[in-house]
Structure formats: C-alpha cells, structure tokens
Symmetry: C2
Subunit: 308 residues, 2 copies
C-alpha cells in the first residue's frame, strides 16, 4: 500500500464513520455448532480449519461496517503450526475484504531478533505475515522498540506499544511511581509520543501508537493530552467492563485518535442477551452484525466518535 | 515427563557437567553454503527447510555435550507459517536427541489469552509446541504471569521471566528507581522469587526462573543473593560482550542455578577465529563442537560451574 498505515487507518475510520476494532479471538468451546460440526475439531488441523472458517464468517459479517480487525496470535499459536497457517489465511482474507489488520502478538526482543519479528510480521505484501500493524511490549526498552519503529516507517506499517493495559495486574509495574513522581506507564508514554511525533504524517498522528485500556478512563484522558500524536488501541471494552462513556477520553475533538476493540462481545454475541433471543445460534453472523451496530451507536452517542 | 522441569534441568546440568545453553538462532546469510545450496532459500519454505536442516546439524554436534538448547521463535516466525512448522520440528528433534528445550518467545498477554499461549507452548507431549520451558515478558503484571506459572506447574514445565535483560536499552525501564528507591527489575525479581519459592522442589529451585543478562555482572550477583530459589537464564555471553568471569555471580555455590546462553558464538563459530582457521566452512559442525568445548572450559575455570 502506498500510504502510511496511520493515514490508511484515519481514512478507514472516516469512511466507515466509526472506530470499532473487531478482535478475532476464536475459542473452540464458543464456536457455533455449525462450525464445530463441520470440522474434526479434536485435531489441531481440524481446530485450525474451524478457527479459519469462523473468522472468515465474522469478517464477512463485519467488513461492511468496521475499519479494522485484530487477530489475537495466541489463540492460533495455541494450535501449533497448523494454527499459524490459519492465522496467515485469516489476515489475508480480512485484507481481501477491505479491512486493515492489526496483529495482536505483543512481540518484542533485542536488536537483530526484534528485527526478525518486525521484518517477518510488518507490512502488507512485504512480509510473510502481512500485518498492517503489530502490538509490541516495551519491557526490553528503547533499543528493542526501534527495530519495530524503523520497519513500520519503511513499510508503511504501524505498531502499538503497550502503555497502560486493561487488566488489574497491569498496575503491578505500570502504575509504580519513579523517584521523580512519574508513573512507569508515563515513561513508556513519553517514549511512544516522541516516536509518534517523529513519524507523524499530515494526519497529525505517527506510525507508533499506544495500547491504553478502556478500564482506565482517567488515564485515557490523561494520556490523550500527553500524547497528541499517538493513536490509541483501546482494549477492555465490553467483557472486561469498559463502557462507551469510559473510552470517551481516548478520542481527539474530531472523533479520531482511537480504535476501540471488542472481541467476545461481537464474536460470541449469539450466546448473549439481547442477541441470543433475537438471533439464536444459526444466525450467529447476524448477531455479530447487530452487536457491531449497537457498539457503533453507543460510541457515537457517548464519545467524540459521534462526529465522524 | 514425570519430573518437574527444574529437576530435569538440574539433573541434565549435573549429567553433562556444564551449564551451557545453545541458542538456536538461524540466520540465512550466515548458514554454511552446504546448507544454503541444498534448499531453494529464495522461498519461505526453502528457507524454513534450510533452518531446520541447519538446526538439526547443530543439535547433532552439541547434544552429546550440553544439557539444553533455546530456539529463538523470532527467526522462525520471520519466515511465516512455514517457519513455524520448522520450529516445531526443531523442538522435537532436540528432545529426541536428549536435550531440554527452552523456547525463547518472550510471550505474554492477559487472562485467558495468556492461558492460550501457556497451554499451546508449555509441556512436552502435552502441547502442540512441546516446549519444556518458555521465556515470558512481565510488563502486563502479575495476573498475566500467573497463567504461565499455573500451566508450568501443572505440566512439569518451566518459565523464565525477563528481569534484567542484556541489552543497553533494557535500562530504560528496568533500571528506573521507584519512590521506595528500588529498581523496577527488583520489583519483577521479587515477584519471580516469590513464585519460585512457592513452586520449589527439593532441588531448592522453582518452576519460575529469571532472565538476567551476562552484561550486568554486578546485578547477577545482587540478584543471585535476592533470588535464592530462582534459576537464571543468562543471555549476552560472547557476541554481546559477556565473559565467563562476568557470569560467575549467576551460580550458586554448587555451580547450579544458572544456564548461560551462547547463540552466534557457537552456531557460526566456523566463520570466526580461531575456528575458521582450524575447521573452515565444510567442518562447521566440528567448529560448533569446539566452540562449545571452549565455552565449557572457560566457565569451569572462572565460575562455580567448575564444581559440577
């Protein structure tokens, strides 16, 4: 693709008029029976085939509605190599259907090893995995992030660095205060914002984004102010407790600057009220679609995303 | 396997009388021409086949000498799904040859996603990847580490949590001091040691180990004292500048408690003095073997590993 990832993301969010990111987290025991019965799911290959078929079905349902999806590497990697082939096929299928793809791998390592991850994963049509963007973990520090940033810039791709994660235990390190009174997550945020500023396009945002959980509304506001060039990937909406009102602070005044992830709440909507009653298991794709539409409406009503 | 990983590791280090961990980091441009010419390395599948053949050759050379190997996931993942199949085959081959396998993936995520990684990767004969142990990153905090610890205990496997990494940039977060004057790496170390203590076997060591770089000799000593139940995985020896004397502090008084990784210095010994002259490219396996024997001798001369 010819444009920087962040410009593609901005354009896609504007075109679809919403910031919903659908997380592709297939879980065997929650797959609709139609899918489970179509494959020998007692083998890794059968389970990988079922995951691929399910994700294709989700993509078919949501591609007309949302700008971007986020396959979770762990659920595919859990199946061994067969799962990794399915992951690659899901990424390609999503892109064929016009979606951007953020691969959620939370990878990191040092020096030439970080380069290997970055070269392997980042860049549509330029890497075996073809991800448009990748999530990256920061514990190894600045020289471990630089290879990902460089590859992202070179290949018109993006990265999202973990800053303030949605889980309660994230506080163990991220909320520690340093001698200067600043939290660890603000230290990471400062590095990320610096890298975002250096790589910013005319959109105002850079190739380096941040993961900031929907479960921390005050920190979302704090970091939105502190990180004006950094696009946020916001997990924790729905199943983890984050609401539309909680994520309002993640956006800029134009409703840009954040995508809000929902995985289980969309993928397995057919199992939950009110969708279970309206659609039932056979219409699981219609349930996905309705759950996306409701999330779009909630964000439009309660956040600046309503201005999109 | 019937014994906890840490007991298997202790037994293997005692049986081989050395703590050398051979890192399996295949790099295309450094493969011996014998291997490069045998496969169509301009395709991901050809390159994956070359990586597998090379790693099998390394394993053949080092299996009689060392207790454990560490495949680096990034170099296989760089090749896409084909690389992941090669990784699985390399893990199995190393185990067939009597080696323990620590998969270096530096994985982590939250809750059920962390469980998916742990279930997929940990446990020989009990997971698609069959790793005896896995490296794990701690930025996401305690509740992200617990699923890995639980799976390790349940399956007689192990994990090594990043504490103080070998790269200079590791200092960015790890060396920050909190308000109480303690470094971040000591905060992680305290959690790891607590988990190691809870899972300790009669060996005195637990299912949870720590990654501490050879490039920080003072911190190796400091952490050895602070973490008496924690086995160390020590990267950074050789190419990154760590010497045998630098890693002396990693061991307990019996020469146990640490494995010291060397990747490039062994794998590509045939390209470097004095092995290049003695062996040349055609005898690259003999060069690996000689480099391992020299490292064993250096550690025996300058560290408590000499008591093994």
């Amino acid at each position: 693709m010819s444009k920087p990832f962040i410009d593609q993301l901005t354009a896609a969010v504007k075109a679809k008029k919403n910031p919903v990111l659908v997380g592709l987290d297939p879980r065997l025991n929650q797959l609709p029976s139609e899918i489970r019965n179509a494959f020998p799911v007692d083998t890794p290959q059968g389970q990988a085939d079922a995951f691929e078929a399910f994700c294709r079905g989700v993509i078919d349902a949501v591609a007309p509605l949302v700008p971007v999806v986020k396959p979770q590497a762990a659920f595919f990697e859990e199946l061994g190599p067969a799962g990794m082939f399915a992951l690659a096929k899901v990424i390609s299928y999503a892109q064929e259907k016009g979606l951007l793809v953020i691969l959620d791998g939370k990878r990191n390592d040092i020096g030439s090893t970080a380069q290997a991850y970055a070269r392997g994963m980042l860049g549509r049509g330029q890497s075996p995995w073809n991800a448009d963007a990748l999530t990256v973990s920061p514990y190894l520090g600045d020289d471990s992030l630089t290879p990902f940033i460089d590859a992202a810039v070179e290949r018109n791709a993006g990265i999202f660095v973990l800053v303030k994660t949605s889980n309660p235990g994230g506080a163990m390190l991220q909320d520690l205060k340093t001698e200067s009174g600043e939290t660890i997550y603000r230290k990471v945020a400062a590095f990320v914002e610096g890298a975002a500023l250096k790589t910013a396009t005319e959109s105002g945002y850079g190739a380096v984004g941040a993961v900031v959980g929907a479960t921390w509304p005050a920190q979302l506001e704090e970091l939105r102010t502190a990180m004006p060039h950094t696009w946020f990937l916001v997990p924790g909406f729905g199943s983890q407790g984050g609401t539309a009102a909680d994520v309002a602070g993640a956006f800029d005044e134009n409703g840009l600057g954040a995508v809000v992830n929902n995985s289980r709440g969309i993928l397995f909507a057919y199992q939950k009220a009110p969708y279970a009653e309206r659609f039932g298991e056979a219409q699981w794709q219609a349930a996905c679609e309705a759950a996306v539409q409701d999330m779009i409406a909630q964000l439009a009503a309660e956040t600046p995303a309503g201005r999109l």
